[in-house]
């Protein structure tokens, strides 16, 4: 049993007569502990794919088994619980709460997990130290650099010990030095702690971190192997 199993996943957006097949019959398996990089041109369906895996979105049709459980029929509350317990999201825009400190941002998933304030603080501080930000715990996002903000976001994604880390263009807003630092963190987490990691990226040198690459084009998977050839259309 794979950690993630997608079977004939279709996502369609309808505009009156028109319909766009954003995901067209995607079938894919991802095992526990894998490090996958998703590539493909803009609008090819990468984010939609990530959102469905992350239970932020639901497919129009098809089956999604997470840890062997069919989550495609789950209620909003059940999906929220999965996002809380099993998924750690990292976004291109960092998506930190601007009026909360780094520490409070990291605590956020734990609040919705119903964990006590004392335990929350303990866990959040521990994770912050892992991403090298112990000394910035009480800083607000605007007082942090882009790379630091993304590290806070990674800490937030990790704090509730998820089984999957999903990062949608996590380095898209960072300079190349910070990008590499962030990727090193993901790599280390995957290698040392076995977090299953899926990262969307445009950049070949970032994609090179992946031990498996999946390339999307017009809602279809056009390549799924150890290394996909660079597409000249990119």
């Amino acid at each position: 049993m794979s950690l993630i199993e997608l079977e004939n996943i279709v996502k369609v957006y309808k505009f009156g007569e028109f319909e766009i097949r954003v995901l067209d019959n995607i079938t894919v398996k991802i095992e526990k502990g894998e490090f996958v990089c998703i590539m493909g041109p803009s609008g090819s369906g990468k984010s939609t794919f990530m959102n469905i895996i992350g239970c932020l979105d639901t497919p129009t049709s098809g089956k999604y088994y997470l840890d062997g459980v069919d989550v495609s029929t789950f209620s909003l509350d059940q999906l929220a619980e999965i996002r809380n317990k099993k998924i750690g999201f990292v976004f291109q825009q960092f998506n930190l709460l601007p009026r909360a400190t780094a520490l409070e941002n990291v605590e956020l998933p734990l609040i919705y997990a119903g964990i006590s304030a004392k335990k929350r603080k303990e866990l959040a501080l521990h994770i912050l130290s892992k991403v090298g930000l112990s000394d910035r715990a009480n800083h607000y996002p605007r007082q942090l650099s882009g790379g630091q903000q993304q590290r806070v976001a990674i800490a937030r994604a990790l704090v509730n010990s998820p089984s999957i880390i999903l990062a949608d263009e996590p380095t898209g807003n960072l300079d190349s030095k910070s990008s590499l630092e962030i990727m090193e963190i993901f790599k280390k987490l995957n290698e040392e702690q076995g977090f299953t990691t899926i990262i969307v990226t445009h950049e070949p040198d970032i994609a090179a971190f992946g031990k498996r690459q999946i390339r999307f084009l017009d809602g279809k998977i056009v390549c799924d192997s150890k290394v996909c050839p660079v597409d000249e259309k990119l």
Partner: protein, 409 residues
């Protein structure tokens, strides 16, 4: 499950972050609740005052005064002629079946002296029935009796105010006071009654036997004439009957022809007061309703602010959902914010209302009554307004699609 303290913390932080806006939203509720509390205080103060008067004046009381009520549609002063007699009073007591007790009265004011204290007060000459008619208890001693009236003894029953002014700490019973220099023995002290309808102090009074008053105090009164007659009907329902019986009887006795006007006036005080009570009740409901409109407007203000807040924080909502907030967690967060706003408004509104009521009471000399009831109303109402007007924005926030919310700029 998310803990309630966490949700409250989140809500408080959001409110603090927008302190000015929160304050303005609260202001609407403060004014609304303040208005409701003040109006209730004014309205219930007025009805309480009237209810008190009804019980203090004596229930089912009818007054018979000399002189016509109207002459050519114009209300005339009562008592300009002395048309009522002791015999009229006795006849009413004897012949009107709906009447329970009758007490004629001669009134005047006089200087009263005890020792080196002196005091000008109302002197009423009356008969023993007066205490029954006015439902007035004696604190000490006894009231005037038949014997006093028959022989015109110089005895006096004094009200609380007179007792205070003349005697202070001294026990008045058995003491001799001088009314118009004539010595009277104090035989009784009346219980406290408070203010009358017209705001007079009803305890500033001395009762003496009617015969004594006529002979020794108010010589200008024609013999046998009385200033007014107090009548107590046997029940509330029989007041109209009693009134009619008195009118018929007095017209007969005064030989008034079919086309002539009454030379007396029968006033049904209970009914007047009941009518006044009814109209104050209506007034307080009306005032309350008007005030509620401002609370409603305040509530709409809260809703407006909450909707703005939900829109502004769309991205925050998306982030919370992405890390595991359930729709009901989001709903609770905004609902608590809204209830918190209105409850704070309720507390300050209550204070404002109390302040305004006291101001009205002292500036306009209006009786106000601030009760626990108004406090509960203020609190309950404001919390209700918070839930009611906060629900839609909170519901809207909870149904946001997380992906779209995250994409919101």
């Amino acid at each position: 499950m998310i803990s309630i303290t966490s949700i409250i913390n989140i809500a408080l932080r959001a409110l603090r972050a927008n302190a000015m806006r929160s304050f303005l939203a609260i202001l609407g509720i403060i004014i609304g609740v303040g208005a409701v509390v003040t109006m209730i205080a004014i309205g219930s103060g007025a009805s309480e005052k009237i209810s008190k008067q009804i019980s203090s004046i004596g229930s089912n009381l009818i007054l018979v005064l000399p002189g016509a009520t109207t002459q050519g549609g114009i209300r005339m002063g009562h008592g300009t002629q002395q048309t009522l007699t002791m015999a009229d009073a006795e006849a009413i007591g004897r012949e009107c079946s709906a009447v329970m007790a009758v007490a004629p009265a001669i009134t005047g004011t006089a200087q009263v002296v005890f020792g080196n204290q002196n005091w000008a007060t109302a002197i009423i000459g009356t008969t023993p029935e007066m205490v029954t008619v006015r439902e007035w208890e004696l604190l000490w001693g006894r009231f005037i009796n038949e014997q006093d009236v028959r022989s015109g003894t110089k005895v006096a029953v004094i009200g609380q105010t007179v007792a205070e002014k003349l005697f202070g700490e001294v026990d008045p019973l058995g003491k001799i006071i001088r009314i118009k220099k004539i010595p009277f023995e104090v035989i009784g002290v009346l219980d406290k009654k408070g203010q009358s309808l017209t705001g007079q102090d009803q305890d500033d009074i001395i009762y003496v036997p009617i015969t004594t008053a006529q002979r020794t105090l108010f010589g200008q009164t024609l013999p046998g004439r009385v200033r007014l007659i107090y009548v107590k009907a046997s029940s509330l329902e029989s007041i109209p009957q009693a009134t009619e019986q008195i009118r018929t009887l007095l017209r007969q006795r005064h030989r008034i022809g079919p086309n002539q006007e009454d030379d007396f006036t029968v006033m049904d005080l209970t009914q007047m007061l009941k009518a006044a009570e009814e109209s104050t009740k209506t007034m307080s409901i009306l005032l309350g309703a008007i005030a509620s409109v401002s609370l409603l407007v305040g509530g709409i203000g809260i809703m407006n602010i909450m909707l703005v807040s939900v829109t502004e924080r769309t991205r925050e909502i998306g982030i919370r959902m992405a890390v595991g907030a359930k729709p009901k967690d989001i709903r609770m967060q905004f609902l608590i914010e809204s209830v918190f706003l209105t409850t704070i408004g309720g507390v300050f509104g209550l204070l404002l209302g109390i302040g305004a009521s006291l101001a009205v009471s002292s500036l306009m000399d209006w009786p106000v009554s601030i009760s626990l009831f108004s406090a509960i109303i203020a609190f309950g109402f404001s919390a209700f307004v918070g839930v009611f007007f906060g629900f839609y924005p909170a519901y809207k926030a909870s149904t946001l699609n997380p992906i779209e919310a995250l994409r919101y700029e």
